[in-house]
């Protein structure tokens, strides 16, 4: 019992210590992060046109990097 009480006492102390910790400034962190890494806007998915009359093979243009 005494051991348990001692343990509980230690836990309580630990908890007290944790409570002393300052809250992480998430908002500030996010503001700074967003400034250097702006959010990426993903364009909407593009609809594929249906051209049932067109059966000539199509080759996509070569992508210019």
């Amino acid at each position: 019992m005494a051991k348990k009480a001692a343990e509980l006492g230690e836990d309580a102390e630990e908890e007290e210590k944790d409570d002393d910790r300052p809250e992480f400034p998430l908002e500030e962190f996010m503001t700074e992060f967003n400034t250097t890494n702006p959010e990426v806007e993903i364009p909407d998915e593009v609809k594929v046109d249906i051209d049932n009359d067109y059966d000539i093979p199509y080759t996509a243009p070569v992508r210019q990097e």
């Binding site: 910790r21 300052p22 400034p25 990426v40 049932n52 009359d53 059966d55």
Partner: protein
């Protein structure tokens, strides 16, 4: 066009056949029964009717086409069907040559329209793929930066706490 109607036999029948298919006439409407051979008798009636010219004027080369098309109405067949000696055709009949040019132009414009829309689609698809990859990269970077910042914050707190304990004890 009216002088063509007076012909008994027609050369280069594939020109009229292609034009008619482009305008939506069926094989049954323009060919001999159960064949692919142009029936000039049937086509003579068609080109004598105002609907034929109306269809030519209203032919739309641009935009998606969702309805069903038979193989002979599709561009690959029509393009091949128009592979002929255009010099000879021009000598044979100016009217037929104009019809040939109209059909060729219709196919060319249709091809340009479809190709440019597909190019644009590819471009937008690639832009989306790039943006998705960049967003994913940013998310990984955020997770890592957040974990690091939180760890630093805890370390600073513990160090400060430890120093203050040492100061009190001393």
């Amino acid at each position: 066009m009216l002088n063509i109607r007076n012909y008994n036999v027609i050369k280069f029948p594939r020109v009229l056949q292609s034009v008619c298919y482009l305008l939506g006439y069926t094989r049954e409407e323009i060919c001999e029964d159960s064949t692919n051979k142009l029936s000039f008798k049937k086509v003579r009636e068609i080109i004598g009717d105002e609907t034929f010219y109306q269809k030519m004027a209203e032919y739309k080369f641009a935009g998606p086409k969702n309805s069903e098309f038979r193989e002979y109405e599709k561009m690959a067949f029509l393009k091949k069907n128009l592979e002929l000696e255009d010099d000879q055709l021009e000598q044979y009949s100016q009217t037929m040559y104009k019809l040939f040019q109209w059909a060729q132009m219709a196919i060319e414009l249709r091809s340009e329209d479809v190709t440019s829309r597909r190019d644009r689609h590819e471009e937008l698809k690639q832009a989306r793929e790039t943006a998705t990859a960049q967003a994913e990269e940013r998310k990984v970077k955020l997770d890592s930066a957040l974990t690091e910042a939180q760890a630093v914050s805890v370390a600073v707190f513990l160090t400060t706490d430890f120093i203050s304990v040492l100061v009190i004890r001393s």
